[in-house]
Symmetry: C2
Subunit: 286 residues, 2 copies
């Protein structure tokens, strides 16, 4: 695996691959890799000729009071993991490489970015779109892989790709969960054992939504209220939002008619966690 | 010349050219072509294997009280002109093709966009950057050509290209003027003969700046005040701004040390006109 710190370096390597007609798969990450990331990497390795993983804790997607500085980092460990999987290139640029002095260009998906997580994290998706567009322009991948865990992110990136006529195809892969149901996240490392236990309430509330839906409930308010009631029984939990929305435009639903995204963000003490499921009227795994 | 109305259509044509290793030159315009545009087209024809011109009056770069609807349009005339010059492709999409329902992705160059024209035209450069990025992504040109007439636009586009790691190279060509000095602009068609005469005050004020500079004046405030005094002698003229700024960051200069951009926007009755020159300390044409 070639580890590239510089834009010119990764570009040079990829130029040779492209000239040879090889397809490029790309998995952008902030590192501290877990099985969720690795499922994306494996898919890329299967689907494309060359796989590029990026590791970059992107400052522009963190708010001023968020956890940019505490965000877990362990590049050596990540390099070992990716090397063993057979990844071709790791792109791990510095902040200065991606945002040199005088940097000032930003991309926004103006409506979607203000829903759900966007309400409590203003500027977050602007930072995400900007770094993803920059990375896409550097790597020019045929395929890019994102996790359903960050459902809103995946929807926004797909919208950006469509609106800006990018040729990269986006593939979104299912959430990977621990045995007890907790969605994998690099931020789970912030949790002490008691908080780790309390954090199960996110998935439990989603399972409850699934059960109510399977039993025929179509009123989104009823399902949301049941979820809220369940979460509020957990003393360490504080709800940021619980929402049932249309998949495409993230608009709140009153009645569930189409495939619907049930998404929530909950603070467990100071740690903000997100999770989601898709409720589908058609028979398929949600 | 192939005239393409659809994104897929122009892309298909260009794909064949790219596979054959041909270089692509691109001249984005809003049509109603004049010699300023044509100088860009000729440069592209000289420098690249295939030349694409786009004609699209881009609604997102006009403010709500601006002249989007009145902006002059004459596609048949433009097609004739471009055909005679030997242009390979004209891309002339509809508004719906470029901004379909639900469109919501925008690009901003956050600091540069608020200087000079950005102050009186909020949102203008966001619209410009967005459409140029979209067109670049569709055409994927090796070279793109812009006029120095829109000096701030050229600087902003170059900054966007750098910040977003686009591979298109930008070439900026000199202002083309009528014999009497008026910078060519599609908006000159708005002027009646009396206004056309009054509009000469823009270039006259720039010539005055050049003369003062050549005579050794380096105090930007002194030069600006002389320009303002001259313009105010023209009863039909109302100054929007007169500025002497650094070329790179468009910051106002007090003393002219580096190559400096002298830029101004002046209303002649209701018609807003812009013009500029570069004052250079080194001996070269400004």
């Amino acid at each position: 695996m070639k580890v590239c710190r510089k834009i010119d370096e990764i570009r040079q390597h990829l130029q040779a691959d492209k000239t040879s007609g090889r397809t490029i798969g790309f998995v952008p990450t902030m590192g501290y890799l877990h099985e969720g990331h690795l499922s994306l990497v494996r898919e890329s390795l299967n689907l494309t000729d060359r796989t590029v993983v990026s590791i970059f804790v992107n400052p522009t997607q963190f708010g001023p009071r968020e956890d940019y500085h505490q965000y877990p980092r362990n590049l050596e460990r990540d390099i070992n993991i990716l090397q063993k999987l057979g990844v071709d290139y790791l792109f791990a640029p510095s902040v200065e490489e991606m945002y040199p002095p005088g940097y000032q260009t930003y991309v926004e998906v103006t409506e979607l970015q203000n829903k759900l997580c966007g309400r409590s994290r203003p500027g977050h998706f602007r930072g995400v779109c900007t770094i993803v567009l920059k990375l896409f322009n550097i790597i020019q991948p045929d395929w890019a892989f994102f996790g359903q865990k960050d459902a809103q992110q995946a929807i926004i990136i797909q919208k950006m790709v469509t609106d800006l006529h990018l040729t990269t195809r986006i593939k979104v892969l299912p959430i990977v969960r621990d045995k007890d149901g907790l969605a994998l996240s690099s931020r789970n490392t912030y949790l002490n054992p008691q908080e780790r236990q309390a954090a199960l309430v996110l998935y439990k509330s989603l399972q409850l939504a699934q059960q109510l839906f399977a039993a025929g409930e179509r009123n989104a308010t009823v399902i949301k209220q049941a979820m809220i009631d369940l979460i509020q029984q957990e003393p360490l939990a504080k709800i940021d939002y619980v929402a049932i929305v249309e998949m495409e435009n993230l608009e709140e639903l009153k009645e569930i008619k189409e495939p619907a995204l049930v998404a929530l963000a909950v603070f467990i003490n100071r740690v903000r966690l997100i999770d989601n499921i898709i409720l589908s009227l058609k028979e398929k795994k949600s």
